[in-house]
Point group: C2
Chain length 181, copies 2
């Protein structure tokens, strides 16, 4: 593959992710136009619409996996790992805003990868519980859901907040809440 081809492919994926996040029924034609390439070029690169979606999901999963690896969720101290995870995953969520939980239903391979990544994070949350970083009465699944929700919120509703500060806000809201108590 030549350099310009790789550039176009990446551009299509990123543009596609952005448009599909706003409107999952965005047409291939619209994605191609937004990416500045011809519709047929996209069809030559991706056998069909599903293949394009798969490629977007894979790109997101690759990025997320790197973040999970580098956060050292099982080895590093909980607060350190949490912050490192957040600082990494927020840009990923912004760059690939597609909702994986909804849109990967028809892609068993991607779903399996997603499940695996999800399990790693759940394990980390469980460790946080066990090591006393979360209140004893907190359900781990709820904690997990709250963390996800906070990440999505800061990533997409506050795109201007830079990753380090965003990670601070999320970790703070997660552990301390927003109240004065």
């Amino acid at each position: 593959m030549r350099a310009d081809a790789a550039r176009n492919l990446s551009s299509v994926l990123r543009t596609g992710a952005r448009l599909l996040a706003e409107d999952p029924s965005t047409s291939m034609a619209a994605i191609a136009a937004a990416a500045g390439v011809d519709r047929t070029t996209v069809h030559r690169r991706f056998a069909n619409r599903e293949a394009l979606l798969r490629a977007v999901f894979q790109a997101k999963l690759d990025s997320a996996e790197r973040v999970l690896d580098e956060a050292r969720l099982t080895e590093a101290p909980v607060p350190v790992a949490l912050h490192r995870y957040l600082e990494g995953i927020i840009p990923v969520s912004r760059e690939w805003p597609v909702d994986t939980r909804r849109m990967m239903q028809k892609d068993p391979e991607a779903s399996a990868r997603r499940e695996a990544q999800s399990a790693r994070l759940s394990t980390f949350i469980q460790r946080a519980c066990d090591e006393g970083y979360l209140r004893a009465d907190i359900d781990a699944a709820w904690a997990r859901a709250v963390l996800d929700a906070l990440v999505d919120s800061i990533a997409h509703r506050f795109p201007a907040v830079d990753p380090p500060q965003a990670a601070d806000l999320v970790a703070d809201a997660f552990l301390r809440g927003l109240g004065v108590t």
Copy 2:
């Protein structure tokens, strides 16, 4: 309008909301089939796809408005109003799971209503700040986003939790966080 007609209309709206939430590109045919009526019946009731979406949005906005009214956000004490709002809005979010922020872009009237309701809630959050229920260093917009995220999370990822308990969980996570601090 006859009784059976009203029943069908309501069924189409609820079924439509459910399917559209899972997949915003769900076809009218699929909605009609799931609602147990013929495709043409849906078309007779709603001039076009947009009209159906508008009706769904309106139904959601009606329900949400009732909740906002009954929560007495400006009169009742902050903790009371918060809990009443949560207990009311969580079932609404479950019954009408459509994502209003995304899907109402092309419906200016619905958007305006949504903005108005959003403003009411933001005003309430601001009051919570002013009256010292939130930490002084918390940005009101962030608090608002966190509350929304928690509501969505408990409403859709934990559909089995009943509204009173769900409201407790959200209020607790919102004000106190999940950490031991």
